[in-house]
């Protein structure tokens, strides 16, 4: 059986950090990345960074953004204007 070398595992792991963080990897693939990250500082750090990225983005999404007042009135006026042409 061919055992993937460190380099192949590393490249594969780097490409699948997001899949891992999303829970998109099948069990065997997840274990492969787990095993590799145990010995690879870059990939272990990459996994933490990917999780941090998703946290920061989600936190931004939880901030309330208000649509400008009158947005619908502008659309109504535009609709009326275009209809009357």
């Amino acid at each position: 059986m061919r055992v993937p070398g460190h380099s192949a595992d590393h490249q594969w792991s780097q490409q699948h950090l997001s899949h891992y963080a999303e829970g998109d990897l099948p069990v065997r693939a997840r274990r492969r990345l787990d095993r590799h990250a145990l010995d690879c500082v870059d990939c272990e750090r990459g996994l933490r960074a990917m999780r941090a990225l998703r946290r920061v983005l989600a936190a931004d999404g939880s901030r309330a953004v208000r649509a400008p007042a009158g947005i619908l009135d502008r659309a109504r006026a535009a609709a009326a204007g275009r209809q009357s042409r």
Partner: protein, 203 residues
């Protein structure tokens, strides 16, 4: 005996509002879209990085929705349908912007709420951790602005807005598998642009 109410009873359901809007009732349409206005604007803001542009696009989206509501058949939810119009408009706008001379769509430093990530204005002499957060958000905003619209849409819809993969795929008009692939690649690009040190607070 209790008299009959003279005002219409209770709020109408979305389906009723859609039906009324399709029959030409603009008030029903207004009620329908106002429930989604803030999130619609947020998505446009995150796609464009500009309050002014997002406002103009929101108006265009509402106009297109009003003109197209007759063709809405309920195969998807109204929310998904509206977002699809919004993403199409935002993508077109980004493509037009890409053909113009380059500009940084992040607003002036310190101008509240004009960055791609809607960051608040920093306080003067802000302490270290807050300054680091500010720098991280600015770096993320720049990274998002550098993505092509389809990649940016994937991050905005899934990671920032928190939609499901299924909803986000439907809005962007691709299969779930294609959407996921796009999302993963977009995240890798953002991670590379921002850097692990900044994301992990170790810079």
């Amino acid at each position: 005996m209790t008299p009959e109410p003279v005002t219409p009873a209770g709020p109408e359901t979305e389906a009723e509002l859609i039906e009324a809007a399709q029959a030409g009732d603009m008030d029903a349409f207004a009620e329908l879209v106002m429930a989604h206005a803030d999130r619609l604007f947020a998505v446009l803001l995150r796609m464009t990085g500009s309050y002014d542009e997002a406002g103009d696009l929101a108006q265009e989206v509402l106009l297109r929705a009003w003109r197209g509501i007759g063709g809405f058949r309920g195969g998807s939810s109204f929310f998904t349908w509206l977002y699809r119009i919004a993403m199409n408009e935002a993508t077109r706008s980004r493509q037009r912007a890409a053909r113009r001379p380059p500009s940084v769509p992040l607003g002036e430093p310190g101008t509240p709420g004009t960055s791609a990530l809607d960051v608040p204005a920093p306080a003067r002499d802000e302490p270290g951790p807050q300054a680091e957060q500010r720098e991280l958000r600015d770096a993320l905003a720049r990274a998002l602005a550098s993505l092509r619209p389809a990649d940016r849409a994937a991050i905005v819809l899934r990671d920032i807005e928190g939609l499901s993969t299924r909803e986000a795929a439907e809005i962007t008009g691709v299969s779930e598998a294609a959407f996921k692939s796009r999302l993963h690649q977009a995240r890798l690009k953002v991670r590379a642009a921002v850097g692990d040190a900044a994301l992990l607070g170790t810079s």
